[in-house]
């Protein structure tokens, strides 16, 4: 074993024994290639300005629905379905039955 290999081994041992090193490596999140979500056969958020999704159980069925806001302050919801893609986007309505709309400039 030459000096270079000994140095490499030493460095490896130091890295392995450094506090938290193993945790950091294990904690680097990895993701699959992103996929566009479909809702009711169409791409969710298509045609919207800066869609911002948040998951929330809107209809109280225990499943997280996808609520999507946008730059104009409009809000839609794609209701989650059991073992299927979410339903088509529709306006999230307020208590008065009208689409919820937040004021923007």
């Amino acid at each position: 074993m030459n000096i270079a290999r000994l140095s490499l081994l030493g460095l490896t041992l130091v890295l392995i024994s450094a506090p938290g090193a193993a945790d950091e490596v294990a904690d680097v999140p990895r993701f699959a290639a992103p996929k566009r979500i479909k809702a009711g056969g169409a791409f969710l958020g298509a045609g919207r300005l800066y869609p911002s999704p948040v998951l929330h159980d809107v209809n109280g069925d225990g499943r997280a629905d996808i609520v999507v806001g946008d730059l104009f302050g409009k809000v839609t919801v794609a209701l989650a379905a059991e073992k299927a893609a979410p339903g088509a986007e529709s306006a999230l309505k307020g208590g008065d039955g009208k689409p919820l709309k937040f004021s923007n400039w």
Binding site: P34, P51, S52, V54, L71
Partner: protein
């Protein structure tokens, strides 16, 4: 606008908290009937909550105010996101306000209760890794989520990046809460999704304006990312025939002629406006009204020309694909 569903006023009904580009947080209070009409949140002095720059609905322009900033200096920073979060663990919700410009995050403390909040009207910078929280590529909307499963809420935030051009796009970042209940300590930003280099020939990912939520979407026990954002791509061009090249040349000539015509129309509108508002105070409502009327008069002509341009672009795109830009919502499944 980001969104948070939270019982802000502790009445047993979920409320809808958000902030828009008007620079202030809004809430639609929930009730047994559903969400009410959104209202703007106010501080203990009854003033509109803000970071610094807000859209003034009367003046119809953005105005910069320093009243909420720690040094009293105005900033060109708009609050476009808001989160309710019990920062000091005293049982009521304080607010986190996120800015578009510079991607800063501020906290505003509630010295009242959830039922009778008294927001101080003073912003305190939120630190991340010992430095003020900042996303230079402009922040979309942060979310609070227990990313590392240690029982406290961490911050996840996306960035806009270059929303139109070929420069680097947006990414998604994590700031872990390494503190304790009532004493959050947020760590330095870690990259979850690297900023987009763009340059693809089809929509392969959200490239700009990344709004993220973290949730176990596929039910496998870990947190995935649901991300809204623009994809920007240029479809691969093919070799054109001589006939097609001739069509391209003709279409470009038409485009140029149309542009010249559009410029002439806008010059005409400008001249008509100047004549109509002569002698009027530029800050007066009458001035604005007259300008709007002149524009409305020429609007059909302007729109017709714009429509023709769009049609020409569509024909050209079939032969020489140009940059495409469309928003979608994506799933990043965690492995």
């Amino acid at each position: 606008m980001g969104s948070q569903f939270v019982d802000l006023n502790a009445d047993g009904h979920i409320d809808y908290l958000t902030a828009t580009f008007d620079g202030s947080p809004h809430v639609a209070y929930g009730s047994a009937k559903g969400f009410g009409t959104p209202v703007r949140l106010k501080d203990a002095q009854g003033q509109r909550l803000l970071i610094s720059s807000i859209w003034d609905y009367d003046l119809k322009k953005h105005v910069n105010l320093g009243r909420a900033m720690p040094d009293g200096n105005e900033r060109r920073e708009r609050c476009i996101s808001a989160l309710a979060f019990d920062w000091d663990g005293d049982g009521d919700f304080d607010l986190l306000l996120g800015s578009y410009e510079n991607g800063h995050l501020y906290r505003q403390m509630n010295e009242g209760t959830n039922k009778a909040p008294k927001f101080t009207g003073k912003n305190i910078p939120v630190m991340a890794g010992g430095k003020p929280f900042a996303l230079a590529a402009k922040m979309t909307a942060p979310r609070l989520v227990d990313w590392d499963g240690d029982g406290d809420l961490d911050l996840i935030a996306g960035s806009f990046g270059d929303s139109w051009g070929t420069s680097t796009g947006g990414g998604i970042y994590l700031s872990r809460n390494n503190g304790a209940t009532g004493k959050p300590v947020f760590g330095a930003l870690e990259t979850l999704i690297a900023p987009s280099p763009k340059g693809q020939q089809s929509p392969t990912r959200p490239d700009a304006g990344l709004y993220a939520d973290a949730v176990d979407y596929d039910g496998d026990g870990d947190l995935d990312l649901i991300v809204g954002g623009y994809s920007i791509w240029i479809p691969k061009a093919r070799k054109l025939t001589d006939d097609e090249n001739a069509i391209v040349a003709r279409l470009r000539e038409k485009q140029q002629a149309l542009r010249t015509k559009q410029q002439a129309v806008m010059a005409k509108v400008d001249a008509a406006t100047q004549e109509a508002v002569a002698g009027l105070d530029p800050k007066s409502p009458v001035h604005r009204k007259v300008r709007s009327e002149v524009f409305a008069m020429h609007r059909p002509e302007i729109m017709a020309l714009a429509k023709k341009q769009q049609a020409l672009k569509k024909d050209l795109d079939k032969l020489i694909p140009s940059k495409q830009r469309e928003a979608f919502v994506w799933l990043y499944e965690r492995l």
